[in-house]
């Protein structure tokens, strides 16, 4: 008998109870009751054709759980008028619109609440009415501002016995309806701000037979069981407020990346294919390559002899390119020390990283040393658990789109490491910087639609003026303020391009030049880019002083060190830097600065 699928996971500890899942109404109300009032609101509109009842409570609770720093406020439209509710929501410009509709919202004949004709005489007309209803929905969704996220759930309930075919047969009309809904889902998924709940994911969390609550449907107009409403609310809230994707994966080798102990059997003795019944390891390699292609950082932490591992990594049938993995910590030292060095080189925090190993002992050792890291055991001789692991890893790292910066991330880390090695070898700092052939490009034309800029603002921790995070609608509103400007900074040098690495946002007013947001990727540190950008601002706007809206966060030490270099004091709150002070503090700059948008802005 096969073992129960299990996979040891040591997840980072949550400091409070805010992450508990509101699987029932009591828990949902408890989450909403314990939220802190007075925080910045996160406005959502729930649009559905039926009475929202528990779905409203559960959606609000799930979003409140996902956004503990916000005060989630939920409005519902007039149920029964889905397209109008969405159109009205478009005018309100909320942070997110959540749309849940059922078959009956497309044609009342597909529900139980209105006694109308069923059977073969109406079959064709039902399909036609649904087609028109879906077209209306598309038109209303097109009117929602691009800065408002839209999460959509297509019909989740079984059809009533409206068509004259037995329940075990799909029937041409039911298939035609499914085809219409699938086409609708494709159309709206192509809109940049829309996402659709995956029906197969939903089926894993809410079995079809437990979804409809006939009592609640016929008495109150709410068609869902509480458990189904909870699963649906979970799916919608995940789309409306996506969690940050993990950035890096550190993997063990023996019995993880491949089957077998390479030190015992040699490079030819390890396996990862179907023929040797070790396909799971091959699939894991394929997933790692896919993650690397999407900009996820990969590293190895293995207790082995480096020479034999290097030979194994040269095998041509390996499904992940060794060049996609950097660095390789292969020796006999504790893995916690290996992980520490990898995190230092990547310059990302442990909570953005996953560690995969087959040994519970190694996982425990790493977890104890790096409490934020998510440690996952690679299952042995358990394909069911292994396949689940692959999907789980995909979900941890998945992001909607792969940017240019994602594609060059590993190269930029290698070049940063090369620069660091040069420094470690005692090369003169000024000579190093002067010889970098660095180019800083500052784009003043970028707007709220610049995805990379928005991403940087919301994920950068260390060089971050005040830690402020934005929803898309907030970011668009900020850039729409009087005198607002945005500077998106790209960088390249002789080691390669880093892409867009910094974002500065502020206001040029009569009273002065204000910098409200300033972030820079840690990959771009130690190149004096921050000085070059500030120097350009002084040149461009010619203010006598610059006002920085600094706030101390747990992680923005590098930013504060920089500001202190300008002001001479530990920054707390608003900091003012006079032109003369900056000129005196600014070190020699060797960058070639290219401005984009200069001509337009005069």
């Amino acid at each position: 008998m096969r073992s129960t699928p299990r996979c040891l996971r040591i997840a980072p500890q949550q400091a409070d109870g805010s992450r508990r899942k509101p699987t029932n109404i009591t828990e949902a109300l408890s989450i909403l009751r314990s939220r802190n009032a007075g925080r910045e609101p996160f406005n959502i509109v729930l649009a559905c054709g039926f009475t929202p009842l528990h779905l409203k409570t559960l959606v609000q609770a799930y979003l409140q759980r996902a956004l503990p720093d916000r005060d989630v406020e939920l409005n519902t439209g007039l149920f029964g008028s889905l397209a109008e509710t969405i159109a009205d929501a478009a005018l309100q410009r909320p942070h997110a619109v959540l749309v849940a509709f059922e078959w009956a919202d497309l044609d009342p004949r597909l529900g139980y609440r209105e006694a109308q004709a069923w059977g073969h005489k109406v079959s064709t007309s039902v399909v036609d009415v649904c087609r028109e209803g879906l077209d209306r929905l598309v038109r209303s969704l097109e009117a929602v501002p691009a800065t408002t996220k839209v999460a959509i759930s297509t019909p989740t309930l079984s059809l009533p016995p409206v068509f004259n075919v037995p329940g075990w047969s799909s029937g041409v009309h039911e298939l035609a309806l499914e085809e219409l809904v699938a086409a609708f889902a494709v159309r709206v998924s192509r809109m940049t701000n829309c996402a659709v709940v995956n029906q197969r994911w939903l089926a894993q969390h809410s079995p079809q037979t437990a979804r409809h609550d006939a009592e609640a449907d016929l008495r109150f107009g709410f068609p869902y069981s509480v458990s189904h409403a909870s699963a649906l609310a979970d799916g919608l809230s995940r789309l409306a407020a996506p969690r940050a994707a993990k950035k890096g994966l550190i993997t063990d080798l023996d019995d993880t990346l491949w089957h077998g102990l390479v030190g015992e059997t040699g490079p030819e003795g390890i396996s990862w294919d179907l023929a040797s019944n070790q396909q799971l390891h091959g699939l894991y390699q394929s997933l790692l390559q896919a993650l690397a292609d999407a900009g996820v950082l990969l590293a190895i932490a293995s207790k082995n002899d480096r020479e034999v591992v290097d030979q194994a990594l040269q095998r041509s049938d390996l499904r992940v390119a060794p060049t996609a993995i950097f660095p390789l910590e292969v020796h006999w030292q504790p893995k916690s020390a290996s992980v520490a060095r990898i995190l230092d080189l990547w310059n990302i925090s442990a909570d953005a990283v996953v560690f995969v190993d087959d040994s519970p002992l190694e996982l425990a050792e790493v977890s104890a040393a790096h409490p934020g890291i998510e440690c996952i055991q690679f299952p042995q001789r358990d394909n069911t658990a292994g396949v689940k692991l692959l999907s789980y890893l995909r979900d941890l790292f998945a992001r909607g789109e792969v940017s240019y910066e994602d594609s060059i991330r590993l190269d930029s880390i290698r070049s940063a490491a090369a620069l660091r090695d040069d420094r470690a070898e005692g090369a003169d700092q000024e000579s190093l910087l002067a010889g970098l052939e660095a180019t800083v490009e500052i784009d003043f034309r970028a707007g709220s639609s610049d995805r990379r800029a928005f991403e940087l603002v919301n994920k950068t921790n260390q060089f971050n003026l005040n830690g402020r995070r934005f929803q898309e609608a907030d970011w668009a509103a900020t850039l729409g303020q009087a005198g607002a400007w945005l500077a998106v900074v790209s960088y390249k040098d002789k080691f390669g391009a880093l892409g867009k690495i910094a974002v500065m946002q502020g206001r040029a007013l009569q009273s002065g030049l204000y910098i409200d947001t300033w972030v820079m990727s840690c990959r771009a540190f130690s190149r004096r880019i921050e000085y070059a950008v500030l120097a350009e601002l002084f040149r461009r706007y010619a203010p006598s002083e610059v006002v920085l809206d600094v706030a101390v966060t747990a992680k923005n030490g590098p930013l504060r060190t920089f500001v202190k270099s300008l002001t001479g004091t530990e920054p707390q709150g608003t900091c003012v830097t006079a032109r003369e002070r900056f000129d005196a503090a600014c070190p020699t700059l060797y960058h070639r600065v290219i401005l984009t948008g200069e001509a337009q802005d005069g």
Partner: protein, 80 residues
């Protein structure tokens, strides 16, 4: 009985967090503005979750005070 009453007070507090414990014990749909039809259904669900029971929806209109709900649970549903 005392335990059922305390747990029922907790249910009412979940749905009507603004009410004190004393107010809850004398609460009625007539006096509590927030106790509308939506709140009534929510309250029923919370009670069902707390006591792992099912409330007969046909009896819903008559369960319009804290005391009547308590009596329904202890007498009709036999919860003690």
């Amino acid at each position: 009985m005392a335990d059922v009453e305390t747990r029922l007070v907790g249910c009412f507090q979940s749905v009507f967090p603004q009410l004190s414990e004393a107010d809850i014990r004398i609460a009625s749909q007539e006096k509590i503005e927030q106790w509308d039809s939506v709140a009534a259904i929510t309250l029923v669900n919370v009670i069902e979750e707390e006591f792992n029971t099912q409330i007969d929806y046909d009896r819903l209109p008559e369960l319009d005070t804290f005391g009547k709900v308590l009596e329904y649970l202890t007498v009709d549903r036999g919860i003690d």
